[in-house]
Symmetry: C2
Subunit: 514 residues, 2 copies
């Protein structure tokens, strides 16, 4: 399936494999989960002792301890197990890693989520001979750790010592936090930590789950990275991975598997359109226009997959055969958002083509933009309601309005009042997750609605902070702590880099933190 | 705690650490547990395909397979896991090792036995990247293996390949089976396999549990080994381990922990008395009287611990403060058996002393034997019933009769009718386990009751065979399949070398297999 060119791209990706930075973290305290209806997902972790007290907890069969590492980490767990008495039977230990208190408070089984049970992070080991020091072979994403002595022997006691997390990142453990007002500095720190923990040998969507390189997620992570950690090589590696794993038809994957070898993950029409904007962002931030030139054919090809569903009236019609993603929201109609996304992609292609000296491409793409903008303004605009509508139900949603603004379908003078109406009107389909909230923020700030953006930042990302987040989440609905696209809040990712964009927005729009 | 001498003995033990022999075994068939009230413990394993069919079983989340390796093995499991489709989540596998069908048919949890849950042999592993080949780090004792794909993903399938057991023994995989009538050859083969699988870096009581060197068990294993595998060095190593770990008072342990360093396990008054007979057996079988000379003081010392409870009337009275073991039988009164065991030990000391040229010791020990035999014959013999009685309840048991015979308290002319009466009388406390049944067999054969021994061999060891044993068990009561000293039949050991003695008895008493 691979061509000479795709193999070369994958080889380039391999040469860009980063050396990860490691730092040792120790637990900070011993905690105990307490049911508390006021706490996030119903669980408060009561601090019961400093972690140094752990060596005084001699454990019998059935005993358990819960450790708090103070912040979300991604890495390998090391520890040693010691003995009081004679070990007359094997020792069985269960390790349960939690990004949230609920994961170390609620049993994983019986499991009823619709993603695999194996994403929940727990391990069972049996040790025949103590003392024993070891490092668990897998990587975990966690702040909390429950260790259960899962055997039933009480003739001898065990002691856990030297527990540490060998944390990893391709970013840096020093977080380049802005010296901003405290309220923003906290959000900035948690955003940066989120990104740091997702930056591994690729930009992972979430280090607990899926640990995978998604193109739509990459675009937001990369934007944040350019203004913070500035690891351009890692973005370049990821762009090569998408280019090198593209299908025979030339379509880049919505997500790429990195190991055991790079592999096309799945098709996602929205994300294919975002390849060009991601490549453009990279070239502009890094100055590396050579990569833009090399991957231009890949970027140019992606728009064809969406354009084939643009009808003679220049309107995108969802054929229903593709995965189109703007938010974890079943009710959302994607037609208008996708129409806007195509325009957004075309605009990026124009800038790329212009910089690469391709005037014929520029002209052709611009002509297409005019047609699609015109169709949006005439066929998707509901004058009476004052909103863009989407689909046969003429649905009004935040997603449609926001993407139309980002796509430049409106003049700035038109866009700001539209977004203000959107914020004020309670009946629109609202966002469920940080990915769409990010685009709302960017739209607001792009038209100067700073105070509205500030309010949203404090309400939404500040809402996660208020609920104890040390990294930002995949999904958050302030009205429903346990919302999950997977029918199980425990399997959600609570360090998800598409929610790390406040650090990008604060730096791109300094007014936001004034 | 260690003396110069004990350290030297432990160093000797270390130099005798055997190089284990390894042989690769593959599963023979795919099986399925079926509830069957006629089968042992209620489970029959239905053969459903040759093991080679395993590669055609592509497994989805929740699927499981059960493999039969055809015979009981002790070793390390190796396997590889392959993939059909794209691995979009970790794979979680559970391995459940069973010596019996019940272990792979019944859930281990919730567990209510009174030995540790950690003795039940199961492991859980999570694999992030397939294909993956590995060997599980721990050693298992099993014939059956259930492998469960314990995740819930059905987007991709897995295949298990190259499953093998790297079996280990300090004996040999070639079993020196006697060319006897088939009925005996089967018992011989299973006895030898039992012993083979217990012969590791020490003589283990059972390779599933406790994996530990017990002195009483060692005596029987060593006797069988001398006439079969003839690994004298391993017995020597074990005798040094007992000598080197003896307590400050000089008492040898009932059991010794081998790892991480040799350690006194626990005190067992009966087994201490059996050190001298075990040392004598070794010297006589190997011709190595040098070891007998070196360890004579240890052997001589052990009898003191029991003799201190012999009263002025020369009768042993159980102080109730020691663990005294003749059978897994709560009802059994141990007084008479222990009194006999002391005599048995004194007789071994006499032969040792005689061979080592210690005439004063011989005279003193013989005088003691006369006193104790006389006390037994006058104070423990119930003329009316025609049985030895034990304890304040004047209990009549097989154990008391058998040990009195083995201790030579009776003349052969007296012993045979006593044992015949014992077999015929239904009200005596009968044996529960193979350890005591072995002593019954030896007593019967020592006085020429061959047909009675043959009947017992076929009924008891033959009974295990008929129930599917490929190694003999720790506990067996033909009337109660699920009998367990630990309140859970799953935690019993089903390869327990104290039941391997038919191979010894067949060779020592050739009439048995005529």
């Amino acid at each position: 399936m691979f061509t000479t060119q795709s193999i070369r791209w994958l080889q380039q990706a391999q040469t860009l494999l980063p050396q990860l930075t490691e730092r040792l973290f120790s637990p900070t305290s011993l905690v105990e989960p307490c049911a508390d209806s006021d706490a996030f997902q119903g669980w408060r972790l009561q601090q019961i002792a400093p972690a140094a007290e752990l060596v005084n907890r001699w454990m019998s069969g059935g005993d358990s301890v819960v450790l708090d590492f103070g912040e979300h980490l991604v890495g390998h767990l090391a520890f040693s197990v010691h003995l009081s008495g004679t070990q007359n039977a094997p020792v069985r230990l269960q390790f349960i890693f939690g990004e949230t208190p609920a994961e170390v408070a609620e049993p994983f089984d019986p499991y009823r989520g619709n993603l695999s049970r194996a994403w929940l992070q727990d391990e069972v080991i049996n040790l025949d001979e103590l003392p024993h020091a070891m490092q668990l072979p897998r990587r975990y994403a966690f702040r909390y750790l429950r260790i259960v002595r899962a055997d039933t022997e009480d003739d001898f006691l065990i002691q856990l010592r030297d527990i540490s997390c060998h944390a990893l990142t391709a970013a840096s453990f020093e977080l380049p936090v802005q010296p901003t007002p405290a309220a923003f500095a906290d959000i900035d720190r948690v955003s940066l930590r989120t990104l740091r923990n997702c930056m591994q040998t690729v930009f992972e969507d979430g280090p607990k789950r899926d640990r995978r390189l998604w193109l739509g997620d990459l675009r937001l992570m990369a934007q944040t990275n350019y203004l913070t950690f500035r690891n351009f090589a890692l973005v370049k590696r990821c762009l090569y991975l998408f280019a090198g794993t593209a299908g025979e038809d030339g379509m880049v994957a919505g997500s790429v598997y990195e190991r055991p070898r790079p592999l096309y993950g799945n098709s996602l029409l929205t994300f294919a359109c975002l390849f060009a904007p991601t490549l453009l962002d990279y070239a502009q931030a890094s100055g590396d226009w050579e990569l833009a030139r090399e991957l231009w054919p890949v970027a140019r090809r992606q728009i064809d997959f969406a354009l084939q569903y643009v009808q003679s009236d220049q309107l995108f019609i969802d054929p229903g055969t593709w995965w189109i993603f703007f938010d974890w929201c079943e009710a959302l109609d994607n037609q208008a958002s996708m129409h806007a996304c195509i325009i957004y992609s075309l605009r990026a292609l124009v800038v790329l083509a212009d910089n690469l000296g391709l005037p014929q491409e520029v002209a052709a793409l611009q002509a297409r933009i005019v047609q699609l903008v015109d169709a949006a303004r005439t066929l998707l605009w509901d004058e009476e309601q004052g909103f863009f509508i989407s689909g046969v139900q003429r649905q009004c949603s935040w997603s449609s309005q926001v993407w139309m603004v980002l796509a430049g379908v409106l003049t700035p003078a038109e866009a700001a009042p539209l977004l203000q109406r959107m914020l004020a009107q309670p009946d629109l389909v609202r966002p469920n997750g940080p990915y769409l909230y990010h685009h709302v923020m960017e739209a607001l700030l792009s038209v100067g609605l700073v105070s509205e953006a500030q309010a949203l930042l404090q309400e939404y990302w500040g809402g996660m902070l208020a609920r104890g987040a040390t990294t930002f989440w995949e999904v958050f609905n302030p009205a429903d702590d346990r919302l999950s696209p997977y029918a199980n809040h425990l399997v959600n990712s609570y360090c998800h880099a598409w929610s790390s964009t406040p650090s990008y927005l604060m730096r791109k729009y300094p007014a936001l933190i004034k």
